[in-house]
Symmetry: D2
């Protein structure tokens, strides 16, 4: 039977290290007021195994950036970890920064980079005329657009801008694709391992990293879109958990008192091989990767492996652009405390 | 076993008549250059069975409104059917129209109404001063915003605007939710049966129809969002078809010569009960409605029944706002041929 | 000679009471950190003399709303005077407000009303479902567009919305034309005497005031445009002052030490009839009103009495929309202190 | 007396050659349906006298680009002259173009460059993958922002982009300041003599021209702003003409029959020295340059030499961005006829 399901062609790609890296890697996790921060350092060997680049990966997970208080807390946590990473990379307080907002300002789910740039306090031109008070770093910023708008390879464009401006280091912001429904608009990844512009949405572009650019690169990514394959395969996994949980708890007296549906994800549930096969037949026999490949094979030829974004995307991009833009202002300029 | 799956709470709602109406209803279908137009007239009895309102429903299905030629063809077909419906409703060539663009101009997937209004050739103020050439109808237009922006019940707002302007008839445009992945941004529904502002996305508002407003109402809706439940349940159905198709054709010599994956949807495939249960176990035993209910029960308590929109939403809204806005201009004003 | 200059046709119109009212009227002036607030109460007689409506006029004059600190001070002063006026009008803390942003959101110099509405904390829909914490007033808000967009007389539209929502009072925001170069984007007028939508820019529309609407109306106006006639006639007056000042101070020893040009406007300068005629010949013999009429007669037939706005209009509208929108939030909702 | 008026500091600057070049230069003028095109070729000597660069200057003057028919005619004329200039510069049909839209997309009067870029049909990335039909040129395009947004000197940025993309020639679009009220939004200048980004509004930036960039540069400029000095000095000149015209025609019998005000600008009027002094006293004795300097000295120290733009700026920028963007598409790509 398995022969019928021919699993090829679909390679799972993600820019979120936390999605692709196993539990063996050394991780540090902290929880600050409901915001979960995971720091991983991948050495060369670990990186090559997981098909990621060597480097530090900081993943900030949060619930809802559109709530004012959450947003302000998140901004604080984000700024703190940017500062930490700058220190770890031995980047001085007066080293000049070039901030690059990747993406298309005319396409809302891809506009996080350009929106962030709008919020950056730019000072480089003032430094050139000696007109800057203490506590400000030399910062320049640009949103170079996407290749479909400019016709120019984005990494070539950035390399040329770096030559013109000669900053001490780069910060690059981009919207990513997620391989997990639960991370869309709810995760910020910070890394010194570089970024592949447009990589998350299936376009292979040239890498932007320290080797290519010749300067340290801090990449900041937020998953804003997810494909239908991911939605379906994640849901199938939730179905297993829901099935196992319901089976176990249906007749428990405690359950009778509960109102509404329980958040079964937060429970410790054992899913047996038998449960999977019972609930899902042949599909239940496949491992996660093969389920994704199967769904890809089903949706792709009929044109329905849509890349989608939550309908509130306009509001969320505005809030995340505030968090990242003003978080960077705080981390880069000593004199800015409350933007 | 079935007892475990408790199917409640989830009511399938859709504003697209074509999605909820069975094949028994009298339908006329035509195909114009790849654009499929289905016209249904529901009488009182048929309407009550399907939980829709009595009236005419014209559904225009198309492939890609972002291609220039397709867009212009679609605009022509759309204008033609608006004209037909006006005639059927005995609305004169000089009857005054009030066009209302529902939705939130600050939220891209919900901005189709306001974008359409921007494209309308408004003449009502010119009629008042007698300053209009022949071939133009008296047209006014407004985008009243959504209740979250104004605090005011939208149908109350519209009723009061109708009293102020006293038009002969209303045209109302809104973005809808779809219950089928394949219809998102690919269907325009025109009906004289009224509309429920925000109904598609789960907010119960007061109806806008002839009984409530006291004037004929032509409602134009385009599904721009879809929920995760729909994506998953549609995909499960595609999996059945793919499974049956693959099983049958895998060893056919013809298949060996084909490159790429076939569009199995266009084939005539028999899906047996056995196939469903083989592929999907217990899930395969459920009917479509119960599968949707199950997925809803799985996704809803953990907050992942996201309402989503394709990531190209900005470009598509712009094009559809052109089709509907300038299509209405052509249908309403005799003198406008090529907007 | 004077006969040649035929002064007709040009009526000076302004919505800023402070521009049209003589010094005889009872005025109170205060200066708060460089922000000048003038409060005038016109009785029936005074109003009819000056062609204004009876009522209270509060004029707030400031230097630069784009500076962060100035903006925050201005917001405070503005909110304070809205609160005072509400008290004076015996409007209770729990009286419901309908806020109307007049103007065209697609035309930057006319977009102050719509931008302000975007910043309003709307609660009316929450009150209807009983879901509001203490300290919030029932507030609804709408930007109805201009007649060129909707085809509908704006005052009719507003009357009908008032009937639908039945608020206890109205607040109406609009961009005005100024009759003084120095007031453009530097003055906020608050009045209970009503407003004439579009009046400042030469379009006669129906009045929005207590008599027409049947509810107290607080009108907030900011002059954002000025015509060429005003720029020229203001400059001619500055030329007189500059001429008189320069003549007097040119040979003063103190002047020899000064660097740059002095701000002669802040000096007490006597301009003699002789100075005017010396500098400006026949033009110098005309009074201010006749100079304006002359300039109008010169510019109008050749199409150059342009209505203009400072080129920084986008930034200024954003800041003033913050001042007025969030100033209103503070004045209307007790619980909001720091938006 | 003249001593009192101290004329210094104010240098008249303009990017419109037609404004600064005397009548001695060799000019060709044609009139196409009310659109006036003036072509001047300045040799080195002529250029140095007039403080302009050597090269060809094509000035297109028109009445109203917001009228649909005018706009389409203008687009045709503009495309034609771009083609002519390309031929004159020996730029081949398949030479690759880089189009640069200078200016700030967040400031409407300065957004002409970025709006134009949005309308450009970009093909460079398709050429790299060999995916372009005949009749298309290799075109890339970018809107690099202004120094206040990026912190980077714009000419440095452009030089670096040219190095990355290596086009055969450049086309640069910018909004300019005008030194004549009558040219604002009513003139397009095309030149091969280069451009100074932001020069029109008083910011000295590095030049963008063939010497600096190493490639032919075609600069396209439209004056969108004007300063108060210009408005006043232009009006004073109109006052002279109006005065002389009125004096002469007041008692003519023909005039008694005329309704409304005549367009005296279109008449041949002699202004005598005596008329000037009669009407304007000491001011009437000054030449044009000294009048400007005087007005500058009057307005500048009190902060009222505002740079202004007509209040319809949003609509006009949209139309001119269509004319220039789609005019360039027609001129650059053979296959595009009717955008």
């Amino acid at each position: 039977m398995k022969k019928i399901i021919d699993l090829k062609n679909y390679e799972i790609r993600t820019d979120l290290a936390i999605e692709s890296i196993s539990n063996n890697v050394n991780k540090q996790t902290e929880d600050i007021d409901g915001i979960k921060v995971t720091t991983m350092k991948l050495n060369k060997e670990e990186a090559s195994i997981t098909n990621k680049k060597e480097g530090t990966y900081i993943t900030i997970e949060f619930d809802d950036a559109t709530d004012y208080n959450n947003k302000e807390k998140l901004k604080e946590v984000f700024a703190l970890h940017i500062k930490k990473l700058l220190k770890q990379l031995n980047i001085d307080d007066d080293a000049s920064a070039l901030i690059i907002g990747l993406g298309n300002d005319k396409s809302t789910p891809d506009s996080l980079g350009p929106i962030t740039i709008d919020n950056i306090v730019v000072t480089s031109h003032l430094f050139k005329i000696g007109n800057v008070s203490d506590g400000f770093r030399c910062v320049s910023a640009i949103a170079p657009g996407v290749m479909g708008q400019t016709g120019i390879e984005t990494s070539d464009l950035i390399k040329s801008i770096v030559e013109a401006e000669n900053p001490a280091f780069l910060i690059v912001i981009d919207a990513l694709a997620s391989q997990a429904l639960e991370r869309v608009n709810k995760t910020i990844q910070i890394t010194d391992a570089g970024i592949n512009p447009g990589s998350g949405i299936g376009n292979k572009r040239k890498e932007i990293n320290k080797e290519v650019i010749g300067k340290p690169v801090i990449a900041i990514g937020v998953p804003t879109v997810v494909d239908a394959v991911t939605i379906v395969s994640d849901t199938i996994n939730y179905m297993y958990k829901h099935f196992s949980y319901t089976k176990k708890h249906l007749h428990s007296p405690a359950n009778k008192l509960s109102f509404g549906n329980p958040n079964y994800l937060k429970k410790d549930i054992q899913i047996t091989k038998e449960d999977r096969e019972n609930l899902m037949g042949l599909v239940g026999m496949l491992n996660d990767v093969d389920v994704r490949k199967l769904i890809y094979e089903v949706l792709s030829p009929i044109g329905y492996n849509l890349m989608v974004t939550p309908k509130e995307v306009d509001f969320i991009m505005e809030k995340l652009g505030d968090v990242i833009g003003n978080g960077l202002n705080r981390a880069l300029h000593h004199n800015i405390e409350n933007l």
